[in-house]
Every structure is written in structure tokens, then in C-alpha cells.
């Protein structure tokens, strides 16, 4: 059995808003093993990005706050670390890539100085050594003409190249975990494939784990070993990827799978959209938050909220009716 790298237990992250307290992440528990690719999927507002930011302890406070649970990474609880210890860990042991490479890069610094910065801070390299390493990193992420590129500024690069720079930066101190939060959403599909392949290659080579946060079920199918489905702040299903696609157990997972048009299906294959809208987090329905949109809902679902419980050693689901849920109705 491979070792667990990250163990999130009963994580609770709340935001104070004018409409009341929003539980953006509500009792979330999952673990990521060493070297595996784990995907967190869900629609906008479900709490997947807040989960990632909580792991990095980057929740803006106020209005946000981690109010409970633990995040064990490599044997220590990140929530117990001092701010300065956490700063040391970010960028060295955990790297993160965001959706907007342009807003994550500093527009007035050259690529070289931005790539060299974490190396100088976390690895105590001299300027010369850091700059040499920066060039190696640029070569590693497949940007041609590295010497010229190092002296350029972010606006001189294309979106795909900027995202390659972000990967180079995130991988520069050989982190144990790389978090990619919708890292390819803003990119064209051919570039998206390049970037995801690159992320998979670099993490495989260094033995790092990869946490992919996405709304795209195709990306999950192509890259993930295991997957967690999130809806309205809670995990609804956690499973290994092949079994989740073959035999989804939560009605929301079924709804998502039946909502996406597939490249390989025949024209006119009817879609089965999930009825209704994504609920407002300040005003969630009672019981299971998915019950107003659920085809399998029974009386109990509007009163009680189901806990995530183990169905098999690899699968957990939070649904009272999971035994009657099927992909093809």
C-alpha cells in the first residue's frame, strides 16, 4: 500500500457574508496518496477552489476562516503551523497553479527573476545558480529558445507558455504535491492537452502527487487515478476514477455524467440535464442539499443530511438511496 501524503479530515471553511455565514467547505474528508493523481470535480461555487486554498492556507481572513478539521501533510497538521513555517512550505513542498497565469505572474519582472525567486528563498541558491536552474526549468517545460525567453516579460508570452512558466515555477523546488486549480480552463483545447500532459509528466518524474481541480469530466477521465465529486460545500462521492464512471453511486454524479455531450456519441443522443439551478450557499435546502434536483429523493432526504460513508474499500458516497442509483435510468 502506498503511503498517504495528504489527509484532509472534517475540514470546515466558512465565509462571513452579508447574507449570513456560508459554509464553503463543510466537513470535507479525503486523502491523497503519494504519486497519485487526484481530481476534485464540481460546478462553480461548490467549494473545490476553497478546499485547495484551505490546504495552502490562503483563505483571505476576513471574511474567510478555517473553523474546523485538520489537514495532515507529510505527517504534520498544516493548521498548527506558524505563518512563517507555512510560508516556507508553500512553493517548496506544495506547488500551486491557478487558472489565470497572467494574474499569477508579476508583469514588471522578467521570467528569469520570477523563476529564480523561489529557488533563492527555499533552496538558498546563489543568484548565479538560481538563474542556471531557471534555464533548466524552462527547457524542462518545453519552451523553445530558453535564453531569450528568460529575459522577456509575461506579456510577451502566449497563454500556454505562461502556464508552462507557472508549472516550471511550481515544480522548481521539487514539491511533493502539485495543486492545479482549473489550470487549463482558459486555454484552447490543443494547448490544454499539452499543458496537462506536461503536468502529468513532471509529477510522474519527480514522484509528486497531483491534485487537479476541474469542472471537466473529460480531463478527470483522462488523467485522474481517483476522484471526489463536490456539491454545495460537501463531498458527495469519492472513488477510483474507472469505477465512478462505470458505476456512479451519487445522483449528482449521474446527473453530471448524463449532462455532458460526448465526442464519441452519435448526433442527437439526448442529454439528460439536471433540473433546477445550483442552490445559493447562504440559503441551502434542508437535508441533502441536492434533494430538490434529485430524481431518487425520498422523504428522508429533505430532513436529514447523509454522511459520506464507505461502500467498498475504494468508494465512499453520501446518499441514502445509493443502492438504487444507476447511470442508465
Amino acid at each position: 500500500m502506498t503511503e498517504t501524503l495528504l489527509k484532509v479530515e472534517h475540514l470546515q471553511t466558512e465565509f462571513r457574508t452579508e447574507g449570513g455565514v456560508v459554509k464553503a467547505v463543510d466537513d470535507v474528508t479525503f486523502e491523497i496518496k503519494q504519486g497519485e493523481t487526484f481530481a476534485l470535480v464540481g460546478e462553480s461555487g461548490c467549494g473545490k477552489s476553497v478546499t485547495a486554498l484551505s490546504i495552502m492556507r490562503l483563505i483571505p481572513n476576513p471574511p474567510g476562516e478555517i473553523t474546523g478539521g485538520s489537514i495532515e501533510f507529510d505527517g504534520e497538521n498544516l493548521l498548527d503551523l506558524s505563518d512563517s513555517d507555512m510560508r516556507d512550505l508553500r512553493g517548496s513542498k506544495i506547488g500551486m497553479i491557478f487558472q489565470e497565469p497572467m494574474s499569477s505572474l508579476n508583469p514588471v519582472l522578467t521570467i528569469e527573476s520570477q523563476l529564480a525567486e523561489p529557488l533563492k528563498i527555499h533552496m538558498n541558491l546563489s543568484s548565479k545558480a538560481a538563474n542556471d536552474r531557471a534555464q533548466e526549468l524552462i527547457d524542462m517545460v518545453g519552451i523553445p529558445d530558453s535564453k531569450t525567453r528568460l529575459r522577456q516579460y509575461p506579456h510577451e508570452l502566449s497563454g500556454g507558455q505562461r502556464q508552462r512558466i507557472m508549472i516550471a515555477m511550481a515544480m522548481s523546488c521539487t514539491p511533493r504535491l502539485l495543486i492545479a486549480d482549473e489550470a487549463t480552463t482558459a486555454l484552447d483545447v490543443t494547448i490544454q492537452a499539452q499543458i496537462l500532459d506536461l503536468m502529468q509528466d513532471v509529477t510522474e518524474q519527480s514522484g509528486a502527487s497531483l491534485l487537479i481541480i476541474t469542472h471537466n469530466l473529460g480531463i478527470v477521465a483522462r488523467y485522474a487515478d481517483r476522484v471526489a465529486v463536490m456539491y454545495a460545500g460537501k463531498l458527495r462521492e469519492v472513488s477510483d476514477a474507472p469505477s465512478m464512471y462505470a458505476n456512479p453511486l451519487h445522483p449528482y454524479t449521474v446527473g453530471l455524467l448524463r449532462s455532458v455531450p460526448r465526442l464519441d456519441s452519435d448526433k442527437g443522443t439526448p442529454l439528460a440535464p439536471i433540473a433546477g439551478e445550483i442552490p445559493d450557499l447562504t440559503n441551502l435546502p434542508d437535508g441533502c442539499a441536492f434533494n430538490p434536483r434529485c430524481k431518487w429523493a425520498v422523504d428522508r432526504c429533505s430532513n436529514e443530511s447523509p454522511e459520506l460513508s464507505e461502500i467498498s474499500p475504494t468508494t465512499q458516497v453520501a446518499c441514502f438511496e445509493h443502492s438504487s442509483v444507476t447511470l442508465h435510468a
Binding site: D188, T190, Q194, G218, A221, S259, P270, P273
Partner: protein, 336 residues
Amino acid sequence: MSTATTAPADSTTILDARGLKVYFPVKRGLIIQRTVGVVKAVDGVDLQIKRGDTLGLVGESGSGKTTLGRAILRLSEASGGSITYEGEDILTLRGAQMRNLKQKIGMVFQDPYGSLNPRMTAGNIVAEPMQIHKIFDNRSDIRDRVMELFDTVGLNRSMATRYPHEFSGGQRQRIGIARALASGPSLLICDEPVSALDVSIQAQIISLFDRLKEEQNLTYLFIAHDLSVVRHVSDRVAVMYLGKIVEQGDADAIYRDPQHPYTKALLSAVPIPDPVVESKRERVVLKGDMPSPLNPPKGCVFSTRCPVAEERCFNETPQPRPYSDGRQIACHKVDG
């Protein structure tokens, strides 16, 4: 040149663009502006849409697909070529004739936030095209028709007095669709109509498009970068790259057996939500980025990234040629 190679349009053709060009000048200088270059956003495109068909126009950002859609409504002025709609030359229309055309062609935009006037109620937004085109004589007829349209697109009638900010993204897109339908168009140009929406909401809107097409005998030009969505809605598909259509024809044929190297790469880049299928797929991963449209490559526009390019591809621009199943393919390496 390219017009000679395509078959003449038959009577069922509703929209026919030939050798269409849309060029944008690139200007430099603050006070004394001079033209330093030209972006060929659409460069010699032939496109036919049959009545009742859905033509999916796909391509990556910067390929010119949006500009092509806008040129049909003359929201971007064409620099050359012709567009005829139901036999009428669009590019020479003026004033009232142009208004008349806009009654027959509706448009649905990507951004349901930016495309609705925030100071108008949903009901007025939908009523406005009917007032502009003077479709009804009195206000109660307009109101009745607005209510009907609300029913058609699946909005609650009581929502007509609300303002756009009170709606969710999916509902706003429904308002946008109702407005596009208000003047009773026969062609709808849909520019990325679902790409700003969440997966579960996206499926609702796609199903609405499916239903409207059946109920109202609509013809769609469906512009999107999401190839899976285009697969679902399209009868025919045109693939654009850097201002040119590289492959065009029957959607089933293209998806089952893409011929142009770019179409192959594009389709293989799209992940399929099924790990079993994914693990068995053969993939073509393209190197590099799309070149700048300011400085397109000589010869074939795709030659810089093409895995099978040979010498002539870098010098000669391939013209669209008919393939055995009737598709048009612009590639030196594909034989009919």
C-alpha cells in the same frame, strides 16, 4: 479562385458565403496613425448553410469564427467576397433593407451578463425587437407574445418584471434566446451560447436549442470551441484555423473519420468522459501555439504545427477540394 472549386448552391441553401474576407487594419501612432499591418481574421471563406440544418463552426480562439458570424449580420464589415441570404446579397443592403434582414437572422451571444441591458426588465428586453421591427400594432399583442416566448424558453411568466441581475446565468441565456426569437427569425447565429455556463445548466440550454429547432423550424449557425457540444447539435461542421476553413462537411463523417491533420489533432485533444475509452485512444498532440494572425505562415496556415507537412505546404496555400464523401478539405496531403 476558391469559388470555382465549390458546387453551386441549391435552392435549399439559406445562407451562402463565397470568398468572404474580413480584414482589420492594425494602426500605430497616437496622433498620426498609420497602418502597419493587417489581420486577416477571415480570409477567403466559402460557407453554405442549408435550411433546417445546424452548421457547427469550430476553431480555437483567434481562428476567426466569431468574426465570421458577425460578418453575416454586418456587425463586422466584410472586406471582400459575398454573402447571400435567401438569394439576397447581404453586403449591399442599406437602411430599411438591412433592418429587414436583421428581423430574419437572430443572434445569441456568449456572455449572458454583458449582452442584456441592466436597466431594462426581462420583459422589455424581449419586447424590444418587436417594437423595432414594428411587428405588432398594439402593446397588448406584444405583451402576449412576450409571455408566449417566456413559456417557450422555459422562464416563469412572473419573471418578466425582473431585471437581469436578478437572474442566474442559465436564466439570462434563456432571456437572450427569447429576445433572439422575438422577431421570428429563420436563422439563429449562436456564438458560444453555452460556454459560460456550468455543466448541468449547459445541458439544459442545449436541450432547449434542440427543442426550439424542431418546434420552430430553425436553422442554426452554432459557433463554439467545445467540440463535444458541437458534436451533439450539428448536422454539418466547418473547422476553422487562422482565418481559413480547413475542413467542412457532414458532421458524422468528420467526427468519425477526420481527414485534415488539424481536425485530427483537435478531436484527439478533447478528452472523453470515460476512462476506459480514454486509455485506448490514439492521440496526436500538437507542438507549439497558433501563429499570430498578424504574421500568418506562408503556404498552408497550419504548416508550422502540422505533423505531416512537406515542402510544398510551406510555399503553396492549399485550396479546399472535394473529398470522396463530399467534404471540402484544404490540405495538400489529403487526396480525394
